[in-house]
Assembly symmetry: C2
Homo-oligomer: 199 residues x 2
Amino acid sequence: MSKPPTRIQQRNRASILAAGLDVFSQHGFRGATLDQIAEAAGMSKPNLLYYFSSKEDVHTTLLSGLLDMWLAPLRAVSDCDDPILELLKYAQAKLDLSRDYPRESRLFANEILQGAPRLSPSMGALKSLVDEKAALIQSWVDAGKIAQTDPHHLIFSIWALTQHYADFDVQVRAVLGDADPYVGAVTHIDRTVRRLLRP
Amino acid sequence: MSKPPTRIQQRNRASILAAGLDVFSQHGFRGATLDQIAEAAGMSKPNLLYYFSSKEDVHTTLLSGLLDMWLAPLRAVSDCDDPILELLKYAQAKLDLSRDYPRESRLFANEILQGAPRLSPSMGALKSLVDEKAALIQSWVDAGKIAQTDPHHLIFSIWALTQHYADFDVQVRAVLGDADPYVGAVTHIDRTVRRLLRP
DNA sequence: TCGTTATTTGACCATTCAGTCAAAACGAGT
DNA sequence: ACTCGTTTTGACTGAATGGTCAAATAACGA
């Protein structure tokens, strides 16, 4: 039935998704227009709709494709001798995502902020993953390897602390002036996580 | 020139702003429609436009009116014998705002996320306030009253940790299930701030 | 009650925007 | 050069939406 996509199809779908990421992350779903996306992708609107069936199609394709990347660092958290280092690594990986992929972060933030209408299918999987890692963290607490803490809220903290720098970028930069936010953020988050977990 | 507003004017402007807060915080500026807001306010669209000159007028009126409330807890931070308690109080006050005024939090988050196009005038004042309080915190660090920390990033941390519960409410609830997020959040944030600041 | 002012609204306009369609342009194999 | 499937687009449609306006209705003081 479905033929393998040609080179042109791959290239065009990719540039549409890149353009969509740009526009959706900047204006949100309702604020973005197909003309904007088509223009940013270097093609006409009907041509865009030849590759994606609708505006929503572009959006959901982006979201589902990005969720994996976004959760990869959490998936990588696993049992080991030095849990503090493991969670430190997680926090830094998450901060790296904020620095290197701020548009992706804002795309998610926009979606969650509006009640995640197009993301609810994935919420179940998200809960499973978080619950699993929370159990692992709890086992570290029980073994006395890290300080007493609520694992779920610990994960929320890491999300909040790191994503803040991508999602509230303009505010952070307005306050800091010319300084690069991430220089200070790296050491601050390092210290925060260490202090929070040291038994 | 400008007459004092009648009782009807006060009531109607107030209900328009209440409706606008509801709709804007849920759908963002572009996603919200005047018909929605008018309906939520219990009046016709032309009538709404009798009290506010435009959609943008409603939005900016909301934003500027809310900024004061939002920054009040930070303004209240002042020098004292026990800086840790002072900052603890600040963090809890901010968390209370997230719990009691989540729509206001999301309204701001929406605005910042899109680059704060309608909020840039206030950014200068924001920086002044933060710089002032950061200097105060730095003096506490220098006096050895709290642990070494970057004051600006400390403030960002408190913002991030507390606002996360309002802005990402659906995600938090999807992960936690039925549990009330704020029950765990209060003690978690208390512990986090204490551990972060203890010399 | 009457006249004046404040309030409310139905009808309307112009623009924007998602999505359609038929036809044109292109490309690869023969 | 011809054919057939793929890609591209100009022109269009219908619905949504911000905003206007003149006329209707309510409030209120004299």
